[in-house]
């Protein structure tokens, strides 16, 4: 909890004014303020996003034409491994934690997270984990080369050098960071809601973060166990996964995907929470079916724990087992559909304005629907036999993780930027950014579906010349560079508006939730006082009360 000194600005200044910790840089290095920790997360993840993006462009450059010699086979495998691992563990999961850190206390009317120091620890562990992971490139024989799934025995018995060990240690540190953060979210949301903020009045983003945190707590230990076994196999001669000595490569896949599939929902549920916050504000209506959206979040999380082996349909599991996992995977489509239909119903008969956050959200609905539908194909296991480990899977996962999670992340950045920094991002540049990325995204990944169906396996550094493969591949590469240009527009937007951006009022979007009740950016103590919360849209109540007083 915030100390008493934090309640009053002059007292806080007296206490910290001459302290070394108040310096411009040291204040950030020593901060335990949830907003600053959140911003540290967001800036760091955006840096890693640039790294992962450059790695992706290297791969697309190599694949632009057949038999290209831009990247060698060894470095291509390193690049694909670190690209995937970076985007998942250093970008999407932590940037959602960044949003959570900044927003959770503000949205539930608390002064900080339940454990501010633990919060700072989880950020610094995240940074350390990221550095360890990326330093894999400087290890003997280069970085890890087993893909983000790092299947055994390739990555235990057949991967010399220490790149893989850096990969394992990096992920270990990141797991601890996420676990610590998740426990903090759970405790905060359960205990620190302001008066009147009942479970059916918390913002839907809070439902999503709570579910995200529980999923992390449930599945991360499994990942840690798998990584530990892998490290022991590599360095201390154990045989968990070595078939020659009675170990099982399939065991690793069970362990990995028991973590790995819920991980997908860990990456998408808070993104959906962001969309559920933004759409009602710009449609000027309450969310349609609050309870349906909240319960579908929990429903998706529950089923996500029962579907892991659908990543293993091609490993020869018994048909009965496969059928169970097919059905459970299919069932997840239902709560996902419920969300999409409720968002559409929220739009229905609204007064829709098309500010940049709303554009990204509408883009999310369109693109994520495509990604969800291609997921149905992968869940049906005879079809999966044809499609798994091909470019179809690459296309599908980018439709849900880029077109889904990252579109929502950008929607959230444009939406909460004024609250974070007190200035709005430029709308025209924002719309250009959106247009370039939306077009570039579809140009990049739509043809990859066709490539996969026609026979292009994933994770290859070259392919044979001839036929329509070349056309699809060059189109895909052009699209990826178009997206890169879009991202440069975003950087330009951030740089330009940092000095000259329009100043934001407390509530520039006429929003519904508590974070807009305080100043932009909020003071260290978040709120001077808070209204009693009597429904899920407290700020609308405040606005109506003010209007009623004006007409008295």
């Amino acid at each position: 909890m915030a100390s008493k000194a934090n309640h009053h600005p002059s007292a806080a200044r007296q206490r910290f004014g001459s302290d070394w910790r108040a310096g411009r840089i040291t204040a950030w290095l020593t901060t335990v303020d949830h907003k600053r920790v959140g911003l540290l997360y967001i800036w760091t993840t955006l840096g890693f996003f640039a790294v992962g993006g450059v790695l992706a462009l290297l791969m697309r450059a190599q694949l632009a034409t057949p038999n290209e010699n831009f990247l060698t086979r060894g470095s291509y495998n390193q690049v694909l491994t670190i690209h995937g691992t970076t985007m998942i563990f250093l970008v999407i999961v932590p940037i959602l934690a960044g949003f959570g850190n900044f927003l959770v206390p503000l949205m539930i009317g608390a002064r900080d997270m339940a454990f501010p120091r633990l919060n700072a620890l989880s950020y610094w562990l995240f940074l350390l984990g990221g550095i360890v992971l990326l330093s894999s490139f400087w290890a003997g024989h280069g970085a890890a080369q087993g893909g983000w799934t790092s299947y055994v025995p390739l990555s235990t018995l057949h991967m010399p050098g220490h790149g893989e060990d850096f990969w394992i240690l990096g992920l270990h540190i990141l797991s601890i960071s996420s676990l610590v953060g998740a426990i903090n979210f759970i405790v905060t949301i359960h205990n620190m809601r302001t008066s009147g903020m009942t479970w059916t009045r918390i913002p839907l983003f809070i439902w999503a973060i709570l579910t995200y945190a529980w999923l992390l707590v449930i599945v991360l230990p499994t990942l840690s166990a798998g990584l530990t076994m892998m490290l022991l196999d590599r360095q201390w001669g154990t045989h968990f996964f070595d078939p020659v000595h009675g170990g099982s490569p399939i065991l690793y896949q069970h362990v990995f995907w028991f973590f790995g599939h819920p991980e997908v929902y860990i990456m998408i549920l808070p993104a959906m929470g962001i969309i559920s916050e933004i759409i009602p504000v710009f449609a000027r209506k309450p969310i349609f079916g609050y309870k349906a959206v909240a319960y579908s979040t929990v429903g998706i999380a529950f089923f996500s724990l029962l579907v892991w082996a659908h990543h293993m349909f091609s490993t020869g599991l018994p048909v009965g087992l496969d059928s169970f996992f097919m059905l459970s995977s299919m069932v997840i489509a239902v709560p996902t559909g419920v969300k999409i239909f409720n968002w559409l119903a929220t739009l229905w008969r609204g007064n829709i304005s098309f500010d940049t956050p709303m554009l990204w959200s509408l883009g999310f609905i369109g693109v994520f629907t495509l990604g969800g539908l291609s997921g149905i194909f992968l869940a049906a296991f005879p079809i999966d036999w044809q499609l798994t480990d091909t470019y179809f899977v690459v296309a599908h996962l980018h439709y849900v993780l880029f077109g889904g999670s990252m579109f929502a992340v950008f929607a959230g950045l444009y939406y909460w930027w004024p609250k974070m920094f007190g200035r709005l991002l430029d709308e025209r540049l924002g719309k250009l950014h959106f247009a370039l990325v939306l077009i570039g995204f579809n140009v990049t990944f739509l043809p990859q579906h066709f490539l996969g169906l026609l026979g292009m396996p994933r994770r290859v550094y070259t392919y044979r010349p001839g036929g329509i493969w070349e056309v699809y591949n060059v189109i895909s590469t052009v699209g990826s560079f178009l997206m890169a240009v879009g991202m440069l527009v975003f950087v330009l937007n951030v740089v330009i508006t940092a000095r000259s951006g329009r100043r934001a009022s407390n509530d520039p979007w006429l929003a519904d939730t508590l974070e807009w009740y305080t100043t932009s950016p909020p003071p260290a103590w978040n709120f001077d006082r808070l209204p009693y919360i009597s429904n899920a849209r407290p700020l609308r109540d405040v606005r109506r009360r003010l209007e009623a007083e004006r007409w008295k």
């Binding site: 018995l157 449609a283 349609f288 091609s314 299919m330 229905w348 044809q386 994770r459």
Partner: protein, 335 residues
């Protein structure tokens, strides 16, 4: 809802559905099926495809309709109608998708059940994978690097791996299964069209993954039978053949190495055309150099190559006599 808005919504759905259908029909995205199993598979893909097009058209129509019809007038910040939900609608859009996904599940289960049937007397071929080659072992014990199959006969492929996880995929056959070390997996195929088809490894298996390819040739059953009867001309390592060139081919050396005499141009490993020079550099007698490079690949590393790239399994998989003739063959044909 007025009649006009229903008509507009329907029109948007038709347009969105037509565009997606055009993409599905006119853009080539499925190879021509070459097995009975692939025919069933394509049926299940199209079944799901049609459902996906309808669902996408509905969502797209609703999204476009909202964007076009409910745009706000400039300066208007008033609220829309305070609709909080509708229980009947929630039930409907939970129930309909549930029915749809169960339908897809049932179709998929039937397809998988039919595709798993190998019949009473299938031709069983063992597929042995290792970095970065396939070997196909026929019931008469002969082994080849190319898979020849008879048309219209059930074939059961038993997959295994000597090192890491590989995969066996022929896109036109509509089946894919991993070859996992320690266990045997299998697939059943019944070829229906003669021709040449690429075999592709889809599971990242190391440096040479992108080049791990082979070929399946489907022959008329009479052609197949005569090939099978006379195929003794190409004996191989596993069959006990000790001819140096056959050992070279059967052990899959050519998948990774350039060797002009052996007709191979693999690029994963070092060239075998200048072994005398390499041996001299290492200060070894040529035959010893070749022998230890095969059995203990990490002893002498060619410049630019890392340890552990070449499989160390040849020590046990090639017999003593075969090794002798392989060494002799390489020594005689290199510079």
């Amino acid at each position: 809802m007025t009649r006009g808005s229903i008509f507009k919504l329907f029109a948007y759905a038709v347009v969105a559905g037509a565009i997606t259908t055009a993409v599905a029909v006119f853009i080539p995205w499925l190879p021509t099926a070459a097995t009975r199993q692939a025919d069933r598979m394509w049926f299940s893909i199209w079944f799901a495809e049609i459902i996906a097009i309808v669902v996408f058209a509905v969502v797209a129509a609703a999204l476009i309709y909202c964007v076009v019809e409910f745009r706000v007038k400039p300066g208007d910040t008033s609220d829309g109608p305070p609709t909080h939900g509708h229980t009947m609608l929630e039930i409907i859009w939970t129930a309909i998708p549930t029915v749809i996904v169960i339908a897809i599940t049932i179709v998929a289960a039937i397809v998988i059940h039919d595709n798993g049937k190998a019949g009473t007397n299938p031709l069983v071929i063992k597929v042995v994978t290792q970095q970065f080659t396939y070997q196909f072992e026929y019931p008469n014990g002969k082994t080849f690097n190319i898979l020849r199959l008879p048309k219209d006969r059930n074939v059961k492929l038993d997959l295994s791996s000597k090192d890491v996880i590989h995969s066996f995929w022929v896109p036109a056959f509509g089946q894919k299964t991993d070859a996992v070390p320690g266990i045997t997996t299998s697939i059943v195929i019944t070829p229906t069209r003669t021709g040449y088809y690429p075999i592709i490894c889809t599971q990242l298996c190391g440096l040479g993954h992108a080049l791990m390819r082979s070929e399946a040739i489907v022959l008329e059953s009479t052609e197949y039978d005569s090939w099978y009867a006379s195929a003794g001309e190409a004996p191989a390592a596993a069959a006990g053949g000790t001819d140096g060139k056959s050992v070279y081919t059967a052990a899959g050396c050519g998948a990774c190495h350039v060797f002009t005499a052996g007709g191979s141009a693999g690029t994963i490993g070092s060239s075998l055309d200048n072994l005398s020079v390499d041996a001299a550099k290492a200060g070894e007698e040529l035959n010893d150099f070749i022998r230890s490079s095969i059995t203990d690949p990490d002893t002498f590393l060619a410049p630019g190559y890392a340890k552990g790239v070449m499989p160390s399994t040849y020590k046990s998989s090639i017999s003593g006599a075969q090794l002798d003739s392989l060494v002799q063959y390489l020594a005689e044909n290199t510079k």
